[in-house]
Symmetry: C2
Subunit: 124 residues, 2 copies
DNA sequence: CTAGGACCTGGAGTGGACTCCAACGCAAAC
DNA sequence: GTTTGCGTTGGAGTCCACTCCAGGTCCTAG
């Protein structure tokens, strides 16, 4: 028999570990970004390691600027099963392109900023 | 005498050249990010090349994620005259640091994304 | 002269993503 | 066993940065 308890995190612990606030976690559950969260007999959420991993994905997508709606589409694909893998790749690739473009733009504007700073430094 | 007319752009032309919408330009004027816009006798705005240059700065700051309120502080410093140059440098440097941090974070998350894509690609 | 487009104002509305609240139940440390 | 604090809900509120609108004036090409 298995005496190892599967780790189950309270929403507070999950917030601490995932980097989302408790409110955001509840919000994400509500809008369908996180599914199948276990509950204790009294109704408290218990998150699993799988959830934490998924939240890591969500955090990555969100922090790179993916709109919540697109994350929702991705979550739907993941939930739909293996036959959506090609579509998931397409979505992630498109997003990666967007991130690359954003990084290029940031780099250019950072340089402009540096020039401005240098100019101010050059003043008498 | 000087027969060269100083270029004066309508708000539409200025929008086209600056990358802001007309509404945003009016909004920025209203909240004090742009000062001293000339008007025709009938009240239409006429932007100058100096404005376009300043709008370039604003666009750079905005597109690199500076909140409007901080841009406003910067605009105030610029308007206050040369004795604020040190403070302007400090503000821009702090912002540059923020941009660098953002870029590092994006790069890391982009790699995570690539890993995810590769994983999906590796599936049977 | 006239039609169509560009511009004006003040103020209201939008969208996205949370974030907060009241009023309550449950947990666990001492 | 009681206090402190974590968790619950549904719904309302917030924040930011615009964005849109009505109802008007003005400009310019034909």
């Amino acid at each position: 028999m298995d005496t190892t308890a599967a780790p189950a995190y309270t929403i507070g612990e999950c917030a601490r570990r995932s980097g989302f606030t408790m409110d955001t976690l509840r919000y994400y559950e509500r809008i369908g970004l996180i599914g199948d969260i276990a509950r204790t007999a009294t109704g408290q959420r218990r998150f699993s390691d799988d959830h934490l991993e998924w939240l890591g994905v969500l955090k990555c997508l969100r922090d790179t600027g993916m709109p919540v709606e697109q994350m929702h589409r991705f979550a739907t694909l993941v939930r739909a099963g293996d036959h959506t893998v090609a579509e998931r790749i397409a979505l992630l690739e498109a997003h990666k392109e967007a991130v690359d473009a954003r990084m290029d733009d940031l780099a250019a504007k950072r340089d402009y900023l540096l020039g401005k700073i240098d100019y101010y430094r050059s003043l008498p």
